[in-house]
Amino acid sequence: MLTPARRVRGLGAAHSGTGHFWHQRVTSVAAIPLTIGLLLIITALLGRSHAAVVQILGSPLVAIIMLLFIINTAYHMWIGVQEIILDYVHEDKFKLLSLMANTFFVFATGLACVFAVLKLSFGV
């Protein structure tokens, strides 16, 4: 009998089954200091003029913390929402579209944030 299983039999596990679980843990550990950093930065910027905000957000240390926060959060929320979709969306067509939308949303918001921080850092 020929089934698709025949082609993978004997090849063993893919060894990526726990990949997202582990990456979610790694990004959550990283998120703790980065979130505290973000909250400190935002608190320091409260009520300041646009010129001051631009100067502070564009300074190297602040910009690096912001970039780390954005990239780490983007990956963390991509995994998290994918997990939510896989738990609750069962209809194939809608599931695929939601998974795709998740990826698009994360890339769009993540890249927009990164671009803005880089522009604040390098000017023009």
């Binding site: 843990r25 550990v29 646009h50 010129a51 957000l57 954005i70 803005a116 604040l120």
Partner: protein, 142 residues
């Protein structure tokens, strides 16, 4: 459980037994906080749009930034930011609790209740402290 079996075995149409889901259990604190952890995660997901708007506006120039400042200063904006602050802190503390549980610690009935209650009280307290500090930084409510 007996009720569930009775319903499924005496049914004339021989309905197959269903695995019990959320609505059949008595709500517990750990269960509610598990749901809230997911909800705050989803809130923060869309909150990323606010962060993006703020950063893009700062990069775009004073006029765009003035729009963000106007919105964040409005009543709705402040409510959104307040909810965002709490969601962020609650998700962070909830994540910390899950990291502790990942090490197979804190699973005693008393310990898990304490950890769960601590995340809830901690997130509310930290949110209030942060907002008081925020208003002090800004020199009082405007």
């Amino acid at each position: 459980m007996a009720e569930l079996e009775a319903r499924t075995t005496t049914g004339a149409d021989h309905a197959r037994p269903l695995s019990p889901h959320l609505q059949i259990y008595r709500p517990t604190l750990t269960m509610m906080m598990s749901i809230v952890h997911r909800m705050t995660g989803a809130m923060l997901y869309f909150g990323m749009l606010l962060l993006a708007w703020w950063l893009i506006a700062a990069a775009a120039g004073p006029n765009a930034y003035a729009n963000v400042e106007w919105f964040m200063g409005s009543l709705i904006g402040r409510l959104v930011l307040f909810a965002y602050t709490w969601a962020l802190l609650h998700h962070m503390l909830g994540g910390l609790r899950h990291l502790i549980w990942d090490t197979i610690h804190g699973f005693d009935p008393a310990e898990r209740e304490l950890l769960t209650l601590a995340t809830l009280i901690g997130s509310i307290t930290l949110t209030l402290v942060l907002w008081v500090v925020g208003y002090l930084v800004m020199g009082g409510p405007r």
